[in-house]
Symmetry: C2
Subunit: 283 residues, 2 copies
């Protein structure tokens, strides 16, 4: 068995961001308005601070303005909701990103729902999730959306394939499964309560690992020739897949880092420009 | 192998409706208000007329008032939306049911979204679907909700089990899978594009057939001892499961009729009273 081909998220994301930058510049030429992403951060968790800064930097490279709102860690749900509602009503803001998790004392769902669906470029609202699930227009969750772009770029058509999603979070596993189902895959959701995870994963033509447990999926769990997408983030740049053994069985595999990660931000930027186009009537 | 035990939806639904009738009477005693379900019917499709009449009749037995709005077949989306928005704002109406399908010229999704989530006792809105999917409080789609009640009544705990849902409609297959996933089943969605349906179904500890194709699931597809739930409606009182062969392999099975069907209306009535309780502040 030869080694799998790598799905290069860094290169694909670069192309998507370049296209997005051109779209943004064209929009600004036509309307005089620069697309703007508002980022909202509660508290000063170092990882969250880093993520937000990274997103702001990438906005610049894509000709997108960003506006940052930093709120104290002790911010109450109603104040966060108020901030998000104000950004939703602000015509100078086209997309809104609430960096999460937001802390246990905040009702995260209430906060998400305060984001207007037309500005929900991170795809976190009920309406965005349902639209993804029903194959209707709307913004997708950025990581699942980025995964679908990667599959498309490498010629993987999910239709009729067995897809196994390991993980069922609201912003990653659940929407990833729904997007695959909308593209006619036969989709199985596995999770911490799944009794024989290895057996379930071995059925998969496409595996999406999205659970946050280092090297949970090993090569012996991978059906020969399967497509393996590792959306896991773990300390030390380790994914949810044991890359060294899985690469010997898969036909296509995402590296960590440089696979799914870059596609997440690229999708965020692309959706921000799309939101601005729609709001400015230039879609 | 002995024959499967029947899951008697008629008997369970009777108990649920009796409980609901008592709750409704108690609510009326305390508040002077009778819970009210508004039914909206577009056109005069004979099956739809029958379904609506059946629901109105069952309302009476549950001490629920019903109000019927009949609209001509040619009703435009905006008029239907206007009707549903008015019912959503009407304090005398606690639950709203839009009989569907509504006809190809109507934007059914726009109509559903005009129903206030707190009155969405049929569980058709984006918000209800997402809440079901994320295990949050809200009203469930009535047929999937009825299925979960049946499983509970017969002591079937989905946790850790392999569940296979055949069908992926917005009001049946998709929410049924999400409710099973929220209860910790390992859930697979199959559909018309699934390549080897028999093989997928044979993995299932719990099968939910919800696709509307007569006798699609045969006994030989059923893993011995599996729980088989037939949510299919086909002409001539035939389900999606070939009952005569499946009953020889399953441990529990729903008959058609008398299985899932009665539980759908029972769930609608129960959720109407629950909606009234919440709106009247007596929850």
């Amino acid at each position: 068995m030869s080694q799998a081909r790598l799905m290069d998220g860094t290169a694909l994301a670069r192309r998507v961001v370049e296209d997005t930058a051109r779209r943004a510049a064209r929009l600004t030429d036509r309307t005089g308005v620069t697309p703007c992403l508002a980022t909202v951060l509660v508290g000063e968790d170092p990882a969250s601070v880093t993520y937000v800064r990274m997103k702001q930097n990438r906005c610049r490279t894509a000709n997108i303005a960003s506006r940052h709102v930093a709120l104290p860690a002790a911010t109450a749900t109603e104040d966060l909701v108020g901030t998000l509602a104000a950004l939703s009503a602000d015509p100078g803001v086209h997309g809104i990103l609430l960096q999460h998790p937001v802390g246990d004392h905040v009702d995260e769902r209430a906060a998400f729902e305060a984001i207007a669906p037309e500005k929900d470029v991170d795809g976190v609202t009920f309406a965005s999730f349902a639209a993804m699930s029903f194959g209707l227009p709307g913004f997708v969750s950025c990581t699942p959306g980025g995964i679908m772009r990667l599959l498309d770029a490498y010629g993987v058509d999910p239709a009729g394939k067995r897809a196994v999603v390991v993980g069922r979070s609201a912003i990653l596993g659940k929407p990833a499964g729904m997007l695959l189902l909308a593209r006619d895959a036969t989709v199985t959701y596995c999770h911490s309560r799944t009794e024989d995870l290895s057996a379930a994963v071995r059925e998969a033509d496409i595996v999406v690992a999205a659970v946050g447990r280092p090297r949970l999926i090993r090569g012996q769990d991978v059906k020969p020739g399967a497509v393996v997408v590792d959306a896991g983030y773990n300390a030390g740049n380790v994914g949810d897949v044991d890359f060294d053994s899985a690469v010997e069985r898969a036909s296509l595999i995402t590296p960590v880092p440089g696979g799914v990660g870059p596609m997440t931000i690229a999708t965020l930027l692309e959706q921000t420009v799309e939101a601005a186009e729609r709001q400015l009537g230039v879609a």
